[in-house]
Symmetry: C2
Subunit: 269 residues, 2 copies
């Protein structure tokens, strides 16, 4: 390992910290992955995209030790840093002792769509935590890919990366295309477009999910712009059985995605 | 309406602010409900428990105007306050112009259990946002009641109240009892205890949900203490179809609760 990095004002630290800003990420072609879970999934699933790993000097826990071994094993440059340097690099208040810098993993729209299973489209999702949580849910429910519209939060925002808890490296993602481009690509791939929205006419349990389909999710208030809704084949709502006015985006999306998973994995017997 | 309250240092404002602390809530027998959605549901569902409503002086939006009319109509004391007073009273960074003070609505364990539908038990849930989100999901999915163990976050914490978005007033809740007391009451009510945990042996799609049951949810990492798991009849896990290690508590709970809702509302035809 290199000497311990101890100067929070050094060029290297400033360059890592700059990755909190979208413009710097675009210029550098890099982004920041904070915390053990993100670093592990980066090193396990896409080590060739890892540029460096920074670990707290003297950290002795089993998790960090394992991750350092993993980085060495994958030939990823590993640097020990002081607490001050870690704090200066990271966006998280408690960076949990490890962070990685990596190259983007997004793929072309058509490459993302090449595969099996339901597709997830995020349109105008602005809250980083919500975007990351839906990506994590898409991964858990076995989605083919996640397509993030250009009007949504940047997928490489440190808060989004953190809240995906590693799922960013688990399934194909595509970013930066307009909603019409995404919809056209989905239709060319033979997908039915299902808008998820609290005003939908079709109830989720009555929705045909055995055919190839894409879920289209909107912004935080779990609402889609009328023109986006109108461009979809069906507008589906999760039934509300009690007095709640709605579910939040992440919960509604999770229920929809697990309904697709259930249709794709029918019970035996 | 009374004269505008303009002194952030007044006794009244201090008493409201004190409700951010659990000890003060217990002493006063009151809690704080911030934001239009919470105040609306308080006034619509349990106006007799509302002690006062505070609204930003000069606020003219349709939502706040409607809520002021609602408060007058329900004979709930209504006070106009300055921005400084509102900020001093509230826990939220952006209190959205309205807040209410109300008496607790929790009921006895056995009264909460008197009804139909699945039951939700929260054990050792510490994060306010998670507790509130699960309560909101329980409401949406049509749960009979929510039973919160004494080892969980205080339900009347302003952050919990906010994140329930009004569901706190929609279904019976019981608080402050130990996990063994809650489990015994559930068994006496004829409920099967289903622990939701990533280590479960039974997959959610294979779980019998047509019989009366209670979901037992654990803390943030979506894990239950072994002794809590062992005290349940089955340990159920939400299947993970992709590479995600887990779902977060709110997402896993939502999938479980909507599976119960689907069993309770079978598709026609």
């Amino acid at each position: 390992m290199e000497p311990v990095l101890s100067n929070p004002q050094s060029e290297r630290v400033k360059k890592v910290r700059a990755l909190h800003r979208r413009s710097s990420r675009l210029r550098a072609g890099l982004f920041l992955a904070e915390g053990p879970q993100a670093v592990r999934e980066l090193l396990c699933f896409r080590p060739e995209t890892a540029q460096a790993v920074y670990v707290l000097d003297g950290a002795s826990g089993a998790v960090l030790t394992e991750l350092c071994e993993l980085a060495r094993d994958r030939a990823v440059p590993l640097f020990a840093v002081t607490e001050q340097v870690m704090a200066a690099m990271c966006d998280a208040q408690h960076p949990q002792g490890i962070a990685g810098v990596a190259r983007p993993v997004d793929v072309l729209l058509h490459d993302a769509l090449d595969g099996e299973g339901f597709v997830v489209v995020l349109t105008n999702v602005r809250d980083p935590g919500n975007a990351g949580t839906v990506l994590r849910g898409a991964d858990a429910a076995g989605a083919r890919c996640v397509l993030v519209s250009d009007s949504s939060v940047d997928l490489y925002n440190p808060k989004v990366v953190r809240s995906t808890v590693g799922s960013l490296w688990h399934l194909p993602v595509s970013i930066g295309r307009t909603i019409p481009e995404i919809f056209e690509a989905c239709r060319s791939a033979g997908l039915t477009l299902l808008a998820a929205d609290g005003v939908g006419n079709t109830l989720l349990p009555d929705t045909e999910l055995s055919q190839p389909h894409a879920w289209v999710f909107g912004n935080e208030a779990w609402g889609l712009e009328p023109e986006v809704r109108d461009a979809c084949d069906e507008v589906v709502r999760v039934p509300i059985y009690g007095h709640a006015e709605s579910l939040n985006l992440a919960m509604a999306a999770t229920v929809c995605m697990y309904a697709s998973a259930a249709a794709a994995h029918p019970k035996l017997g």
